[in-house]
C-alpha cells in the first residue's frame, strides 16, 4: 500500500519538479530578454568607456595614429605642469561652494513662499518653473544680451536708478556671478521638488508644534527642515553633479561675450574661458583638450580624475548626511 503510493507519487513529483524547473528557466529567459537593452547599453556605453578612459589615460593618442603607451606622463602633466588645471579646478570649486548653495537656498525660499501662499499657487508655480525648461543655449544668449554692459536692459535700468552697472560677462570678476544669476533663473526644477516635499509634510506635526507654542521660525527649523531633509540631500547631490559637468552655459556665454567684444565674431580665436580664463571650468578644459586639440590621451586622464572626484564627492555627501538627514520611521 505504501509502496504503491510512493510509486504513484514519484513520477508525479518528478514531473512537477521538471515543470517547475522549466518555468524557472522560462522566467530567467524572459528577464534576460527584458533586460537585454540595458545589459548591452550598460556594457557598450558605460563599462567600455570606463575601461577605455583608464587605458587611454596612459597613452598619447591623437585619433590619427594608434595610441602610444607613455605610462604616467599624462598624470604628471596634469598634477604638476598644466597651468590650466589649477584655475579650472578653482573655478569649478567656486560653482560648488557658491553657486550650488545659492541655488538650493533660493529654490527652497521660493518653494516656502509658494507653500504658504493661499491663492494663485498654480499660476506662480508655472512662472517659476518655465525658465527651467528654456533651452540652455537660448537662455544663455538672452542673459548675455540682458547683461550686455553698454546697451543691455539691466544696465540701462541701473543707470536710470543712478547706479553704474558692472561689466557682467565681460569682466573676470563678474562673469561667474552672471552665470550664477542665469542658474538662479533656471532653478524651477529644484523649486518644484522642494514644494512637493513641503506640502507632503504631515499637517499634524505643524499643528502640535503650534500648540506647543512654536513660532514660524521654530516650526521651519524643527518641523519643515527635518521632514524634507532627504529631499534636500537629493537636491544637493544632483546640483553638485550638475556643477561638476557645467559646460553649455559657460561655453556659449564665453563665445558670445568674446564675439561681442571683438565685434567680429572671429571663429579662429580660442574663446574658451573668456574673459581671462574666468569661465574655464573643468569640463571646458576637458573639451578643449579632447575636441579642440584632440589630445585624447590627456583628455582621458582628465576624465579619470573627474570620475574619481564625482564619485568621492557623492559618497562623502551621502555618508556625511546620516548625521543630519532624518528618515521617516528611522529606517537608517
Amino acid at each position: 500500500m505504501t509502496e504503491t503510493a510512493a510509486a504513484a507519487a514519484a513520477p508525479f513529483t518528478l514531473e512537477r519538479r521538471r515543470a517547475r524547473r522549466r518555468a524557472a528557466w522560462r522566467r530567467r529567459r524572459l528577464v534576460l530578454l527584458l533586460m537585454a537593452p540595458w545589459l548591452i547599453g550598460f556594457s557598450a556605453f558605460f563599462g567600455y568607456p570606463l575601461v577605455m578612459s583608464v587605458y587611454l589615460s596612459f597613452t598619447h593618442y591623437d585619433l590619427l595614429s594608434s595610441p602610444k603607451w607613455i605610462g604616467l606622463a599624462n598624470y604628471k602633466y596634469l598634477f604638476r605642469d598644466d597651468p590650466q588645471v589649477g584655475p579650472a579646478v578653482k573655478n569649478t570649486l567656486w560653482l560648488i561652494g557658491i553657486m550650488v548653495p545659492l541655488q538650493v537656498l533660493f529654490a527652497f525660499g521660493v518653494a516656502l513662499m509658494l507653500a504658504r501662499a493661499k491663492r494663485g499657487v498654480g499660476f506662480f508655480r508655472t512662472i517659476f518653473y518655465l525658465p527651467a525648461l528654456a533651452p540652455p543655449v537660448a537662455a544663455t544668449m538672452a542673459f548675455v544680451y540682458l547683461l550686455n554692459p553698454a546697451t543691455g536692459p539691466v544696465n540701462i535700468i541701473l543707470e536710470k536708478l543712478g547706479i553704474s552697472g558692472p561689466l557682467w560677462f565681460q569682466s573676470p570678476q563678474w562673469s561667474k556671478p552672471s552665470l550664477t544669476l542665469l542658474s538662479l533663473w533656471g532653478v524651477g526644477t529644484l523649486m518644484i521638488i522642494f514644494l512637493a516635499a513641503i506640502l507632503d509634510a504631515p499637517r499634524q506635526l505643524y499643528e502640535s508644534a503650534e500648540l506647543d507654542g512654536a513660532g514660524p521660525f521654530q516650526r521651519l527649523r524643527w518641523v519643515t527642515l527635518p521632514t524634507i531633509s532627504p529631499v534636500i540631500l537629493f537636491s544637493v547631490v544632483i546640483s553638485v553633479i550638475a556643477a561638476l559637468q557645467y559646460f553649455t552655459q559657460a561655453y556659449v556665454a564665453a563665445n558670445i561675450a568674446a564675439g561681442q567684444a571683438s565685434q567680429a565674431g572671429d571663429q579662429t580665436v580660442n574663446n574658451l574661458g573668456y574673459p581671462e580664463g574666468s569661465t574655464l571650468f573643468y569640463p571646458v578644459l576637458l573639451y578643449e583638450q579632447g575636441f579642440k586639440f584632440f589630445n585624447m590621451g590627456y583628455a582621458s586622464a582628465l576624465t579619470v580624475l573627474l570620475l574619481a572626484v564625482a564619485f568621492t564627492i557623492t559618497v562623502l555627501i551621502i555618508r556625511h548626511s546620516r548625521r543630519w538627514v532624518h528618515y521617516a520611521g528611522a529606517v537608517k
Partner: protein
C-alpha cells in the same frame, strides 16, 4: 449633530489681533511672490521687446520698440537655415525619445514586477549610472564613434538611447512599484504571460509616467547642446537648432534684434509643449524628487 456644526465654528473664532497679523503675513508673502514673479518674467519680456526692435533701437538705450518690427521673424528664416536645423532637431528628439521608451519600459518592468536573483544589485548599478555625468564617457565614446565613421551624423546621438536610459528606467520603475499587485494577478489568473501583462495592463496603468518620460526625453534632446556640439560641429549640414542658435551671432555680426527673435523661436516650442502638458511635467518632477 449640533456638536459637529459647532466645532468648526469654535475653531474659526480667532482673536482679531491674530487675524490681522495673519492677513499682514499673507499680504507680505504674496507681495514677495509677485516681485519674484516679475523678476522671473522680465527676461522673457525683454527678449520679446528686443526681437521686435530695429537693429539701431536694439543698440540704443531705448527699452520699448518703436516702431514694432514684426519683419524680424521673417528675416530670421531668410538669414539662417532654421527649417533644416529644426528638421535635424526633430529627427534627433523623436528618434531618441522613441528609443528611450522602447528600451526602458521592459527594463523598468523587469526591475519592479518580476522577482529574480541579483535584481537589487542591477538596480543599484542603474542608480550609479544615473549619478555619473555624461562628460566622463564622452572621450572614449568619441573615439569609438570615429572608428565607426559615424562622427558628423546623428547616429552617436540617437543610438545610445535605444539601449536604456538610466533616468527613465529609474522614473518608470518608481511608478511601476506603486501599481497594486492585484491588477497583475488578475491578468495572470486569466492566463496572461508577463509580456502580455506588460503590454496590456502596465502600459495602460502607467500612462502618466510614460508621458512624463517621453516629455523629459524630448525636452532633453531638444535642448541638448553638449553632445551635438561634439559630434556635429564639424558638419554644418547636420546642425541642430541649438548649435545653429549658438553660432547665429557670428553668422550675422551684432544684430541683437534678429538674435533675440531666433532665441525666441527656439524657446517657443518648449514653452508651448509645457502649457499643453503641464501636469505631466510637474508630476514627473515630483515623482523623481520625493520618492528618490
Amino acid at each position: 449633530m449640533s456638536v459637529a456644526v459647532a466645532q468648526p465654528f469654535v475653531r474659526r473664532k480667532v482673536p482679531a489681533a491674530v487675524r490681522r497679523k495673519r492677513l499682514l503675513v499673507a499680504v507680505a508673502n504674496h507681495s514677495l511672490l509677485i516681485v519674484a514673479a516679475v523678476m522671473f518674467l522680465a527676461p522673457f519680456f525683454f527678449i520679446v521687446l528686443t526681437a521686435l526692435m530695429t537693429n539701431e533701437q536694439a543698440l540704443s538705450s531705448h527699452l520699448w520698440p518703436s516702431p514694432f518690427r514684426w519683419q524680424n521673424f521673417v528675416d530670421v528664416f531668410h538669414q539662417a537655415p532654421i527649417w533644416r536645423w529644426t528638421l535635424y532637431t526633430m529627427m534627433y528628439a523623436v528618434l531618441a525619445t522613441l528609443g528611450v521608451l522602447v528600451s526602458s519600459i521592459p527594463v523598468a518592468y523587469a526591475l519592479s514586477r518580476i522577482r529574480w536573483r541579483g535584481r537589487n544589485l542591477v538596480f543599484a548599478t542603474v542608480l550609479i549610472a544615473l549619478m555619473l555625468p555624461p562628460v566622463v564617457s564622452v572621450v572614449p565614446l568619441y573615439v569609438m564613434w570615429s572608428k565607426l565613421h559615424l562622427v558628423g551624423n546623428l547616429g552617436p546621438l540617437i543610438i545610445p538611447n535605444w539601449f536604456g536610459d538610466a533616468f527613465s528606467i529609474f522614473l518608470l520603475r518608481q511608478f511601476f512599484m506603486t501599481i497594486p499587485e492585484e491588477y497583475l494577478d488578475a491578468a495572470r489568473v486569466d492566463g496572461c504571460g508577463e509580456l502580455r501583462i506588460l503590454v496590456t495592463v502596465m502600459l495602460r496603468l502607467a500612462k502618466p509616467a510614460i508621458a512624463a518620460v517621453a516629455l523629459f526625453s524630448f525636452l532633453y534632446t531638444f535642448n541638448d547642446f553638449f553632445l551635438p556640439n561634439i559630434y556635429l560641429r564639424e558638419n554644418p549640414a547636420h546642425w541642430v537648432l541649438q548649435i545653429g542658435l549658438s553660432e547665429f551671432r557670428s553668422l550675422h555680426q551684432v544684430q541683437w534684434n534678429l538674435t533675440m527673435a531666433a532665441t525666441l523661436l527656439v524657446m517657443a516650442p518648449v514653452i508651448i509643449l509645457f502649457f499643453l502638458a503641464q501636469r505631466a511635467f510637474v508630476e514627473g518632477v515630483t515623482l523623481t524628487g520625493v520618492k528618490g
